[in-house]
């Protein structure tokens, strides 16, 4: 198992290619993420964070450069293979929970497994219940997700992101829509999953307080990485 879960080599991304409106929003990004790393991605609005996250999440393709997920070069993969790799290696947590309203909490957590295997089975359900237990929502497993609070929904989303036991979870402002207490709880949950499971996290955030609680902070400004440094945690913070 390779130690690195993600490697970007000189990634560039332009929009409106071949038109007078062509603009390059990422100008050669190099980034590496190891297994079990907990990394914050910060930067002002319009700096290219979301674009970068979409590329890493294999939802979009770079214009130039190479992108490796768990050692797989994604440039050679076709759409179906990218979908498969995305399903198996990457979990998503979005700012708005983005759960599927027609399903219960447990079913939402099962969803990635269901999409992968095609039929529901018992192991899926027990996996989903284990994950809901870990995020503290087992009693709500049969609830429609629309009936849960914002914090609870985000916890379900985290449980869902972990369903396929991915090497990397991409979180786009996972606490941006929550009050401080819920935000702390959700953050602590991600941190705990990261420690116990060794899942790497890449978290886009606007909250400097949260960013400082990560292992590393990567700052993107105008499509370039301007800071990429480890956070030195004081003893007081660790406590």
């Amino acid at each position: 198992m390779p130690a690195e879960v993600l490697r970007l080599e000189d990634i560039r991304k332009s929009f409106n290619l071949g038109t007078p409106l062509e603009t390059e929003v990422l100008h050669g990004i190099d980034l590496m993420l190891r297994r079990g790393e907990f990394c914050a991605l910060i930067g002002p609005s319009g700096s290219g964070k979301s674009t970068l996250l979409n590329l890493i999440g294999l939802l979009d393709r770079p214009t130039a450069g190479r992108l490796f997920i768990e050692g797989h070069d994604t440039r050679a993969l076709d759409d179906a293979a990218l979908t498969r790799l995305r399903g198996h290696s990457i979990g998503f947590v979005f700012q708005y929970h983005h759960l599927i309203g027609a399903f219960t909490a447990a079913e939402n957590v099962m969803m990635p497994l269901l999409l992968d295997r095609g039929h529901p089975d018992d192991t899926m359900r027990s996996t989903a219940e284990d994950l809901l237990d870990r995020v503290g929502l087992l009693p709500w497993k049969e609830s429609r997700v629309g009936n849960l609070s914002g914090g609870q929904q985000q916890r379900v989303a985290i449980a869902r992101a972990l369903a396929m036991n991915p090497a990397l979870v991409l979180a786009d402002e996972p606490t941006g829509n929550l009050d401080t207490r819920s935000a702390d709880g959700v953050f602590a949950l991600m941190r705990e999953v990261n420690r116990t499971h060794g899942t790497a996290f890449l978290i886009v955030t606007h909250d400097p307080r949260l960013a400082r609680r990560c292992d590393r902070i990567v700052e993107v400004v105008d499509g370039r990485i301007v800071t990429n440094e480890a956070v030195v945690h004081s003893a007081a913070e660790e406590a």
Binding site: L59, A80, T83, L115, P120
Partner: protein
Amino acid sequence: MSRWLPFEWIAALRFLREGWMQTFFILAGITIGVGVIVFMSALLAGLQSNFLQRVLNAQAQIMLLPPDEVARPLRDGPGIVEDAVVQRPTQRLRSIDQWQAVQTQMATTSGVTMTSPVASGAALALRGEASRSITLTGVEPESYFRIVRLPDSIVAGQARLLNDEIIIGTDLATALGVALGDKLRVTAASGRDATLTVSGLFDLGNRQVNERNTYVALRTAQSLLNLIGGVTSLQLTVQDAYAAETMAQAIQGATGVRADSWIRTNMEFFTAVNAQRTANTVIRLSVGLSVALGIASVLVVSVVQRSREIGILRAMGGTRGQILRIFLIQGGVLGLLGSLSGSGLGFAALVLWHRWARQADGSELFPLTIQPDLFLAAMGVATLTGVLAAMAPALRAARLDPVVAIRG
């Protein structure tokens, strides 16, 4: 969550249930559409078969007649013609030449189920001062009444024809003031006459026919019409009524007598049936098309509403094929459910219609025949229509760019 259903089915059914109001309205629309199609189809099929039954029960399917008389120009020798103007000869009342032999030959021809000789011609029915011109039809009751169901239309007396008996229509009876058992004088164009007893009255539902048609025994007609031993036509029924025309042509070729099929003599009927069928098809297609468009528009809206969820499903490893199938299944399920309730509606409408729409005398317009095939076909077609109508929305859903879809 059902264990044996594949993911696409689970998602499709959940989506339909979640958007229950849209689902309800489009199902109501499909129900009405399918109901109308089922109702119209059953009605038209009933009408046609009933019409056909009436036409076929009132006449033979093939009628063999003596060939027209033609004038042969007199010639002196090759190329020399005496009289250049050839007039069409008058058509005398004539017998079919060697009709017994022809009848025997017909009886053994495959496809022919029944033969009956008929001698008919014009005559006058007289009673006191009143006289009416009639068509005298001399028949052998045993065979003829199996081809033309006259006994079904007898309203008084019976369909019995002894040598001095006659069966007449109700309107002729009224005109001449005769009742069952009364006597009637019949004078044929040949000058011969006979006094006959009315043994039965029929009502064929057509005033002209009731006034004009009369039936006597074959022998009586032969003597009145001066056709001793001869018949003017041979009536045939065949196994396949729709093949009558082809058979008639074959018989004409084989025997030399003229053969007219009911298809040729009822051209108007077939034109009417075809016009009706065309109109019905146009209506059914239009209703089917509007049902399909309804399904498509509901699913297009659903795709727009769910584009974010579709994006999430794609981000979580859902393939384009899975998304495509979710929406195709929704279309198919809508079509199937709508056709089930639509068949019910159509059936109910047929039963109600059959109960309320009556003839003036309270009898049914025609018997209701409900074929299970019609409902099965409606379901199959509706389901297929649903899937096809879902094609455009489903493709749109499958092609959604997850990045755009998630951002909304």
